[in-house]
Protein backbone atom coordinates (compact mmCIF):
# COMPACT_ATOMS: atom_id res chain seq x y z
CA UNK A 1 0.00 0.00 0.00
CA UNK A 2 1.35 3.39 -0.94
CA UNK A 3 0.27 6.86 -0.03
CA UNK A 4 -0.79 9.33 -2.70
CA UNK A 5 1.10 12.58 -2.60
CA UNK A 6 -0.09 15.86 -4.10
CA UNK A 7 2.21 18.89 -4.12
CA UNK A 8 1.02 22.11 -5.74
CA UNK A 9 3.69 24.79 -6.12
CA UNK A 10 3.10 28.40 -7.15
CA UNK A 11 6.35 29.66 -8.64
CA UNK A 12 5.51 33.35 -8.23
CA UNK A 13 4.22 32.94 -4.68
CA UNK A 14 7.21 30.71 -3.81
CA UNK A 15 4.79 28.54 -1.89
CA UNK A 16 3.73 24.94 -1.91
CA UNK A 17 0.78 22.95 -0.61
CA UNK A 18 1.61 19.36 0.23
CA UNK A 19 -1.22 16.89 0.73
CA UNK A 20 -0.64 13.32 1.85
CA UNK A 21 -3.93 11.91 0.71
CA UNK A 22 -5.92 9.83 3.14
CA UNK A 23 -3.32 7.71 4.90
CA UNK A 24 -4.97 4.36 5.53
CA UNK A 25 -5.29 3.21 9.12
CA UNK A 26 -3.21 0.10 8.52
CA UNK A 27 -0.36 2.27 7.17
CA UNK A 28 -0.18 4.54 10.19
CA UNK A 29 2.02 5.87 11.62
CA UNK A 30 3.52 7.68 8.60
CA UNK A 31 6.88 9.45 8.77
CA UNK A 32 7.22 12.41 6.42
CA UNK A 33 10.73 13.71 5.76
CA UNK A 34 11.14 16.95 3.83
CA UNK A 35 14.54 17.81 2.36
CA UNK A 36 15.24 20.68 -0.06
CA UNK A 37 15.21 18.36 -3.07
CA UNK A 38 12.91 15.52 -2.07
CA UNK A 39 10.04 14.20 -0.01
CA UNK A 40 10.13 10.88 1.75
CA UNK A 41 6.95 9.20 2.97
CA UNK A 42 7.66 6.22 5.16
CA UNK A 43 4.96 3.95 6.58
CA UNK A 44 5.36 0.60 8.28
CA UNK A 45 4.79 -1.16 4.95
CA UNK A 46 6.31 1.12 2.40
CA UNK A 47 8.80 3.87 1.77
CA UNK A 48 8.35 6.32 -1.05
CA UNK A 49 10.86 8.91 -2.20
CA UNK A 50 9.77 11.75 -4.49
CA UNK A 51 12.44 13.89 -6.10
CA UNK A 52 11.65 17.46 -7.06
CA UNK A 53 12.59 19.00 -10.42
CA UNK A 54 16.11 20.50 -10.42
CA UNK A 55 14.85 24.11 -10.39
CA UNK A 56 12.59 23.61 -7.37
CA UNK A 57 13.83 23.54 -3.79
CA UNK A 58 11.90 23.41 -0.53
CA UNK A 59 13.11 25.94 2.03
CA UNK A 60 14.38 24.08 5.13
CA UNK A 61 12.20 24.31 8.26
CA UNK A 62 9.44 26.14 6.39
CA UNK A 63 6.69 23.57 7.04
CA UNK A 64 3.70 25.15 8.71
CA UNK A 65 -0.08 24.95 8.99
CA UNK A 66 -0.14 21.20 9.48
CA UNK A 67 -3.70 19.95 9.70
CA UNK A 68 -5.78 16.92 8.85
CA UNK A 69 -9.02 17.04 6.89
CA UNK A 70 -11.13 13.92 7.27
CA UNK A 71 -11.70 12.12 3.99
CA UNK A 72 -9.06 14.28 2.37
CA UNK A 73 -5.66 13.93 3.97
CA UNK A 74 -2.82 15.63 5.77
CA UNK A 75 -2.12 19.23 4.70
CA UNK A 76 1.23 21.00 5.05
CA UNK A 77 2.22 24.42 3.72
CA UNK A 78 5.79 24.79 2.51
CA UNK A 79 7.95 27.66 1.36
CA UNK A 80 9.54 26.91 -1.99
CA UNK A 81 12.35 28.38 -4.07
CA UNK A 82 11.43 27.91 -7.70
CA UNK A 83 12.80 29.47 -10.83
CA UNK A 84 9.92 31.58 -12.07
CA UNK A 85 11.67 32.52 -15.34
CA UNK A 86 10.70 29.20 -16.87
CA UNK A 87 6.99 29.91 -16.49
CA UNK A 88 5.08 32.00 -18.95
CA UNK A 89 3.53 35.32 -17.96
CA UNK A 90 0.18 35.43 -16.25
CA UNK A 91 -2.60 34.78 -18.70
CA UNK A 92 -6.29 35.04 -18.14
CA UNK A 93 -9.03 33.90 -20.47
CA UNK A 94 -12.76 33.88 -20.03
CA UNK A 95 -15.40 32.31 -22.16
CA UNK A 96 -18.64 30.48 -21.40
CA UNK A 97 -19.37 27.06 -22.85
CA UNK A 98 -22.80 26.88 -24.38
Amino acid sequence: MEESVFLEIRRKMQSGLLIIREPKAENLPVDISVTPASLEIKSCQDCKMISLPADVRIVPSSSRGLHYIAGDGLYVRLQVQADSNTSKGEQLFCFPLS
Partner: protein
Protein backbone atom coordinates in the same frame (compact mmCIF):
# COMPACT_ATOMS: atom_id res chain seq x y z
CA UNK B 1 -14.43 28.94 -17.90
CA UNK B 2 -11.39 30.69 -16.43
CA UNK B 3 -7.71 29.82 -16.76
CA UNK B 4 -5.34 31.14 -14.11
CA UNK B 5 -2.25 30.41 -12.02
CA UNK B 6 -0.12 29.54 -15.04
CA UNK B 7 2.94 29.47 -12.74
CA UNK B 8 1.70 26.28 -11.08
CA UNK B 9 3.95 23.26 -10.79
CA UNK B 10 2.34 19.98 -9.77
CA UNK B 11 4.26 17.11 -8.24
CA UNK B 12 2.11 14.04 -7.85
CA UNK B 13 2.64 10.49 -6.83
CA UNK B 14 -0.19 8.02 -7.11
CA UNK B 15 -0.81 5.46 -4.44
CA UNK B 16 -3.36 2.71 -4.77
CA UNK B 17 -6.24 5.10 -4.31
CA UNK B 18 -9.49 5.04 -6.21
CA UNK B 19 -8.47 8.07 -8.25
CA UNK B 20 -5.97 5.90 -10.13
CA UNK B 21 -8.81 4.31 -11.99
CA UNK B 22 -9.79 7.67 -13.37
CA UNK B 23 -6.28 8.55 -14.45
CA UNK B 24 -5.92 5.33 -16.44
CA UNK B 25 -8.27 6.89 -18.97
CA UNK B 26 -5.51 9.35 -19.80
CA UNK B 27 -2.57 7.01 -19.64
CA UNK B 28 -1.67 7.71 -23.22
CA UNK B 29 -1.31 11.41 -22.53
CA UNK B 30 0.68 13.09 -19.78
CA UNK B 31 -0.33 11.19 -16.69
CA UNK B 32 1.80 8.40 -15.28
CA UNK B 33 0.50 4.92 -14.78
CA UNK B 34 -0.36 4.01 -11.22
CA UNK B 35 2.24 4.17 -8.46
CA UNK B 36 4.68 6.39 -10.33
CA UNK B 37 5.40 10.03 -9.72
CA UNK B 38 6.17 13.03 -11.83
CA UNK B 39 6.09 16.81 -12.12
CA UNK B 40 4.10 18.94 -14.51
CA UNK B 41 3.64 22.58 -15.33
CA UNK B 42 -0.06 23.20 -14.92
CA UNK B 43 -2.80 25.76 -15.25
CA UNK B 44 -5.76 25.99 -12.91
CA UNK B 45 -9.10 25.88 -14.73
CA UNK B 46 -12.27 27.14 -13.05
CA UNK B 47 -15.50 26.20 -14.78
CA UNK B 48 -19.25 26.03 -14.48
CA UNK B 49 -21.04 23.15 -16.18
CA UNK B 50 -23.97 24.78 -18.00
CA UNK B 51 -25.71 21.84 -19.67
CA UNK B 52 -29.31 20.88 -18.98
CA UNK B 53 -30.15 24.27 -17.48
CA UNK B 54 -27.51 23.94 -14.77
CA UNK B 55 -26.28 27.41 -13.81
CA UNK B 56 -28.88 28.85 -16.19
CA UNK B 57 -29.01 32.24 -14.49
CA UNK B 58 -25.24 32.59 -14.75
CA UNK B 59 -25.17 31.43 -18.39
CA UNK B 60 -27.91 33.95 -19.25
CA UNK B 61 -26.03 36.74 -17.51
CA UNK B 62 -22.83 35.89 -19.38
CA UNK B 63 -24.67 35.75 -22.70
CA UNK B 64 -25.79 39.34 -22.16
CA UNK B 65 -22.34 40.53 -21.08
CA UNK B 66 -20.37 42.14 -23.92
CA UNK B 67 -17.14 41.44 -22.02
CA UNK B 68 -17.74 37.68 -22.40
CA UNK B 69 -16.72 35.97 -25.63
CA UNK B 70 -18.73 32.87 -26.45
CA UNK B 71 -17.18 30.03 -28.44
CA UNK B 72 -19.63 27.66 -30.08
CA UNK B 73 -18.70 23.99 -30.36
CA UNK B 74 -20.72 20.92 -31.37
CA UNK B 75 -22.61 19.59 -28.35
CA UNK B 76 -20.66 16.30 -28.59
CA UNK B 77 -17.41 18.22 -28.17
CA UNK B 78 -18.83 20.10 -25.18
CA UNK B 79 -19.98 16.87 -23.56
CA UNK B 80 -16.58 15.24 -24.08
CA UNK B 81 -14.89 18.30 -22.59
CA UNK B 82 -17.25 18.26 -19.62
CA UNK B 83 -16.53 14.56 -19.09
CA UNK B 84 -12.78 15.24 -19.04
CA UNK B 85 -13.30 18.22 -16.73
CA UNK B 86 -15.43 16.28 -14.27
CA UNK B 87 -13.08 13.28 -14.23
CA UNK B 88 -10.12 15.57 -13.60
CA UNK B 89 -12.09 17.43 -10.94
CA UNK B 90 -12.79 14.13 -9.16
CA UNK B 91 -9.04 13.40 -9.01
CA UNK B 92 -8.28 16.47 -6.90
CA UNK B 93 -8.25 16.28 -3.12
CA UNK B 94 -11.89 16.98 -2.13
CA UNK B 95 -11.17 20.33 -0.48
CA UNK B 96 -9.59 21.65 -3.71
CA UNK B 97 -12.42 20.65 -6.07
CA UNK B 98 -14.44 23.84 -5.58
CA UNK B 99 -13.43 27.48 -5.46
CA UNK B 100 -16.28 29.80 -4.57
CA UNK B 101 -19.03 28.36 -6.77
CA UNK B 102 -16.65 27.18 -9.51
CA UNK B 103 -15.54 23.62 -10.19
CA UNK B 104 -11.73 23.36 -10.35
CA UNK B 105 -9.25 21.24 -12.28
CA UNK B 106 -5.49 21.41 -12.80
CA UNK B 107 -4.80 21.24 -16.51
CA UNK B 108 -1.34 19.77 -17.14
CA UNK B 109 0.58 21.71 -19.77
CA UNK B 110 4.02 20.11 -19.96
CA UNK B 111 5.99 17.35 -18.32
CA UNK B 112 8.80 18.32 -15.95
CA UNK B 113 10.01 14.72 -15.56
Amino acid sequence: MWLLNSDTLLVESMGNSASNNVFTLFEDSLKPSSSSSGAWNAVKVLYHPCIKKRNKDLADAWENDIGVHPLTFPSKTCLELLLILSLSNACLPPSLRCMNSFQVINCLSSNKG
